[in-house]
Every structure is written in C-alpha cells, then in structure tokens.
Symmetry: C2
Subunit: 441 residues, 2 copies
C-alpha cells in the first residue's frame, strides 16, 4: 500500500495515477495524511474532480488545510513548471469548485492569477480573473434573513451587489441583486426576487467571451461555475472591463502587425518595443519579395513604357488603404459581435460592391491625375486599375478576418499590413495586365 | 413691460436678452407665467444659470411644470434646431442642476440624450450619458435613517449602489457606497462612512475623459456635477463602458483611415460603408500624387538603373508597415493614458532608436533578397535604404499622433494609411538618393 510515495519520488505520474484509480477515497485520504505538503498536493491534483472532492471530504481539517495551503505554494508552483507538458496537462485538470474557492480566497489579484493556473484554469480563462469571494444565498430564505447573511459574510466578499443563489449541492440556480433585497419587505421571500437561469460563464472558458456576454446582458457581475454548474466565483464588471481593454489593446496592436506590449509604453525598453514589431515586419518583408518577382516578370512591360513606374506607389498605396479599411472594419465587427463567421458570403458581397463603388469614385480623380502627368492613354490604365484594385482589396480585406476566425486564428492577426502586402503583389499584376491589354503592349 | 413676447415673436434674441437682464426675477417669472409653453421655455433658457434658478423658484408649481415639460418637448427641439448657430450657442448655456435633473428624470436613454442637448450639454459630454435618477443623502443621517431614505426613494433611481452625499445647497461633499451602509450598524453615522473629495466629472466635460477617470479610480459610478459643484447625476459603469467602447471603435476605424459606422456593420448599406471610407481614400489619393512627382523627379535615375524599380513596392511597403506600427502604438498609448503630449521628446527618441534597430535587422534580410535578385551593389542600396526608411518611418509614425493631440486634433486621425502615404513619398526620395550616392549615378 505504501508504494505511492515511492512512485511520486520517481516522478512516475502514470504509475501513481493507476494506483489512485484502484483505491477507495478513504485509503487515498489516509495516504495523503502521512505525506509532506508537496507530495500531498501532487497526489490530490492527480485525482479527477469527483474523486478529489470525495477524498477532500474524508480528510481531517488539518490535512485539508495543508492541501489548500500547498495549492497556493511556491514550491508546488515550481514543481508544476518543471513537469513536462504532458504530465502537467494530466495533472492540471479542473479542481473541485469547493476547493478552488477556498484556495483562491484571500489572495491578491496577482497571486490569484498565478494560483488559478495550478487549479487547472487555462491562461486567459475566466478562472484566472474571477473573484472567489462571494456571498451565496439559499433560495428558501426570507429577505431579512438573507440580509443577515450578507451582513455576516459580506465584509470578506469582493462584491455583495450580486448574490448568487445556489442549491444544497452548490449548483447555481439564480442570482439576486442586493438592490432588490434592500428595496423589499424583510418578510418577502428571496425566491420571489431571484432571477433564474442567469447568464453564467464556465471557469475554463475564455475570459473575453464571458466579458462580452456581460456587456450584452448588462449584468453587473457574472456568476462563474465549474463544468458541473457549481458556483466557483463571480466575474465583476471591473475585471470584465480589464479583460476587454486588454483584448482591445491586443487587437489594435495586431491590426498594425505588432504584438501588444506586455508593459507600459514608456517603461518598455527599445529592445522590447522592437521585439513586438519585428516578427511581423520580417514576415511581411519576406512576403514582399513577391512584389520583386512580379516586377521582374513584367520587366519587359515596364521597359517598353517606363512611365508605368510613376504610378506604382500611388496604385498599390490606394489598394493597401482600401484593404486595410475593410480588414479593420471586419475585425472590429467580429470583436464586438456584429458579424459572425456564418456571414462570410454576405460580407464578401457587401465588400465587393463597396470596393467597386469606392474604385469608381477614385478612378475619376485617378484619371485626372494621370492626365496631368502623362497622357490620356496611361491615365485610362490608372483609372481602370483603381477600379479593379479597390474592388479586389476591399473584398480580400473584409473576407480574410472571417476566414481566419473560421480557422480558429485570431482575426486581428489579419492585420492591415498583411492585407496591404498581399494587395501590393496582386495589385501589381492587375496594373501591368491592365496596361498590356489597354496599351496593347 | 409686455414687449418681451413681441421681441420673441420677431426672433430678436439679443433684444430679449437685454430686456431680461434689466428685470428682477419676480417680474420675469410674471412674464413667463402668461406665455405659452414654447415662449416660456425660450425665455427661461435665455437666462443665465443663477438667474434661471431664481426665476424658477419664483414660479408657481404649475408654471414650473410647464417649463420642465417644455424643455423635453419636440416643438422646442425643432425650434432650437432652426436657430442660427450663434443664437443657439447663446441660448444653450448650462441649465441649473436642479432643473436639469428634473427634466431628464424618467426619460429613456435615447430621449435623455436628445433632451440633454437642450440643457446645454455639448455632444459627447458627460451630461448626455449620465443618469439624473440618484439617491442623494445628507451627511448628518444615521445609517439606519439613510437606509430608510434609500428604501423610500431607491425604486426610481437607476442605481443605489453609489449614494452621493450633498450639503444643503446640493453641493457634492462625498459619496457613500450602499455596501458600507448594509454592512454597518444602523446606529453608526453616515459621516463616518463617507468618502470625501470623491472623483467627479462636470456635466459639460467630454464623456470619454470621465469614463477613463472611472477606470483609473476604480469607482462603480462617478458623480456628475455642474460648474458650481452641484450634483446633477451619476455616470454608471455601464454607461462608462459604452462610452469607452464607442471611443475605441472610433479610434480603430480612424486608425485605418475611415470614420466609424453609425450603425451595425451588417445593417449599413453599401453606400453608407463607402461614405465612411471615401473621404480619407480621396485625400490619400491626392496626397499620393506626391509619389508620382517624386518618381518623375528621379526619372533619369530610374532610367539609368531600371532594376531600381523592382524594389520600390518592397521598400515603401516596409516603411509603411513600420510607420503604421509606431502610429498605432502611440495612438493606443495616448488613448489609455500611458503617454502624454509632454512626452513628445522622449517618444521621438524611443521610436528613432526602435526604428534604427528594426531597420538594421531588416537590412540583413533585405540584402539577402537583393543579392538573389540583382547584384551586391543594388542589394547594398536596398539594405541602407531599409535602415534609413525604418528609422524615419518609426519616428514619424510615433510622433505624429502626439503632435496631433497638441494641436487638439484627435490623434487617431493620424491613421496608419496617412503615415503610410507620407512615408511612401519620403521613402522614394530616400531610396533614389541612396542609389545615386552608392551607385555613383
């Protein structure tokens, strides 16, 4: 029976897992009680959620306390970081709601983020941002009694304005607002004031989605539950705002072909600033060699009408601008939920017509500019190219973010510079081909 | 005495103003009492704030009601819209807090926005977004009494979680959170729980600044006061969030050289989509004719080494990307308050070095690409140009938003396309000059 500590010593997590699966909860609790803090925590985290709760309940309060403290501990954190990713993933399954809540309570926002990782909440998930300190109510209380509960336990909670209502098994059944309690008669029943089936988020789901849901449903705080709908915490509007602000900052940076800075702009070093921008610049530079190839392919066209070169920056610049506008509009519309990936065909059709309309208007000016600098022939080439390029750029720019999202890539990665670079190369092909056809070269 | 109605009939606002200045409040109240709704409202809105309050207090309740209703009225709204801008500005000075609060109460968010304009709150100001329905407390209450006030008047208020504390003259002296009241003994005094000198916003100041202040100070709701610090309402976190989201959407659109859509992306017509993008595209196209001139100026250089043309899209593209990254980073840093206009010199220096570092790294790749397509000579020109263009683009891109803000222009107007277009033209000059020097043309 005592070979579990040995398996752990040898870091044989698979063996330990096998052993744990065959033992009854009380036997596991017994083993845990004899272990040192780190070993007991590892053993505990290897259990799946239901078993973990059973074992936890079997433990003496002093051993329970050891596990809770161990889960917050730097030693455990270091150990998890040194595991190989497979073992780490196996270990960090979602912890039981009851344990998670107690581990996270009393930590600062920063410590909470660090510790939430050890409880199995992935990076950027709701579990990393929620507060576990809530005042949960039972449905069968009178308003006066409920206010008593709030008074007794509210000082420790981060917010008491949203009060989750749970059943005996900590399953979320509704929420009630403090406002309703305060404005009602003390003899009224909480059950009359409860909003049932409230919007909620799972602790493991992306925080941004939860924050946007809060905005749409206009709730002050969003209850957070585990995969069995047991209450683990609340996402406050404060936290939600921070999540959305960070997501927006990331989108904005990505739209310009950069990664978001992890720190304050003025305190970041020049090297850190460069690093956020370098990768995309390099990729785009490599992609831009395509334009060199296109130019080379049409070298004879360029040589026979050297004046064609005059308009290259103007044409690809305009194409890039049109594409960037469409891409940015699509990324934002996706972010705030105005467009879904299922709208793809409709977006293509909208952007195609928008680009055509823009191209037609710009062609008038383009023709005038061309006529001033060169002749009407070349001006016609410029005008026609503008129409085709704008239609193409707008369609590509508007479509690519949706395609990215379909492929589960962050749509904001389809940056304005990326669209611009793509439109540069294809724009040149459009330009030279138009020139060949119109001028009969 | 009765020539006021005549002056109004003739739309002689200047004359009416002069008359009003010479009369005592009771006489004006007397005149107002005889007028029809529209005339009485106009007269009332012509008074400056202090006089307006004095006159208002002199009026019978029924006449007060007439003014309040008139201020919400469509007829008055139409009339104001048809005034010429000078008269309109003269008329729509800030209304007294007491009157403003009563006019706005009970209106929907949309009606409130429309009506707030008639009370003298400029577009985009806090007054257009705030809720006037608050529960204000007096400092000398006990907690139990204060909760009684909240119970009695809370149902009508939009929020009761933040309770502004005012003195006898409705001047804001602090706030107290409902949380504090609920968790304290009923016999404690409100004065012990009050947060004095709370952050606040003036109704006439920009809503975005107020919303960002809320985020920084982490308050749930922000008290809104008039120019004499009298309470007029609360900006709730909900409203603040909406303000910031709209501002971000605007920034994002402007960054791509477009105006924000006023409606849902999918419901906007192709014509509306085009309109948001057209103006900038046209301006940028006109600006891009500069690149045609530059190309023309260097035509002899281009003709003597025709291969120079191969790299034009790649070079100006990379310059544009670098500039766009820097501009976007600067605009966002300004928006979230990480950078101030006083940081101008430091930002120039940072972006200059960042651009240089990026340019040096890109030059290595650029040289390799050049060497593959053409010879080492031309590759050297490409590499040197990349270094100079990146340094220049990064500096210009990072600096222009700050300069725009200094000139009180929205920094986001310094869009990526604008920087790109500017860098296109100057980049060509850098490229051809470098070629002339290095190749000795």
């Amino acid at each position: 029976m005592t070979h579990l500590p040995m398996l752990l010593e040898e870091q044989d997590l698979a063996g330990a897992l096998e052993w744990l699966e065959t033992q009854p909860p009380y036997a596991i609790a017994d083993e845990i009680a004899r272990m040192d803090e780190v070993q007991s925590v590892i053993t505990f985290r290897l259990l799946d959620k239901d078993r973990a709760l059973e074992v936890f309940e079997e433990l003496d309060p002093v051993d329970q306390q050891q596990i809770l403290e161990g889960l917050r501990d730097q030693a455990f954190r270091d150990l998890v970081e040194n595991l190989d990713p497979d073992d780490r993933a196996r270990m960090l399954k979602e912890a039981p709601a009851k344990v998670a809540k107690r581990v996270l309570a009393g930590l600062s926002a920063h410590e909470r983020q660090m510790t939430a990782a050890l409880l199995g909440y992935p990076e950027g998930s709701v579990g990393r941002f929620m507060t576990p300190e809530t005042v949960a109510l039972q449905q069968d209380l009178a308003v006066g009694e409920a206010l008593e509960v709030v008074r007794r336990r509210g000082a420790r909670a981060e917010t008491i304005y949203t009060l989750p209502v749970v059943d005996r098994g900590r399953r979320l059944t509704g929420i009630v607002e403090l406002r309703e309690l305060v404005l009602s008669e003390p003899t009224a029943m909480v059950s009359e004031l409860v909003v049932t089936e409230p919007p909620r988020a799972q602790a493991t789901e992306p925080a941004e989605a939860a924050a946007r849901l809060m905005r749409e449903t206009n709730v002050l705080d969003l209850p957070v539950v585990d995969s069995e709908d047991r209450l683990v915490g609340l996402l406050t509007s404060d936290d939600a705002f921070e999540v959305i602000e960070a997501a927006d900052t990331e989108d904005v940076a990505r739209q310009a072909g950069a990664e978001p800075l992890e720190r304050h702009y003025m305190s970041a070093s020049v090297f850190q600033l460069s690093r956020t921008r370098m990768v995309w610049l390099l990729l785009l530079l490599v992609a831009a060699t395509l334009t060199v190839s296109v130019n080379q392919a049409f070298e004879s066209t360029l040589e026979s009408v050297t004046q064609l070169a005059l308009f290259v920056p103007l044409l690809i610049g305009t194409g890039g601008n049109t594409g960037a506008q469409a891409a940015t509009a699509a990324v934002r519309a996706l972010a705030v939920g105005e467009v879904r990936t299922s709208d793809l065909i409709r977006v293509i059709w909208r952007e195609c017509r928008t680009g055509l309309l823009l191209g037609l208007m710009l062609a008038v000016v383009g023709f005038a500019v061309g006529a001033v600098f060169v002749g009407a022939d070349l001006a016609a080439v410029v005008a026609i190219t503008l129409i085709v390029i704008c239609t193409w750029a707008s369609t590509v720019g508007g479509t690519m973010p949706l395609l990215a999202k379909k492929l589960r890539i962050d749509p904001a990665v389809v940056s304005a510079p990326m669209v611009t670079t793509l439109v540069d190369a294809t724009g040149l092909v459009i330009y030279f081909t138009t020139a060949k056809v119109v001028l009969g070269i």
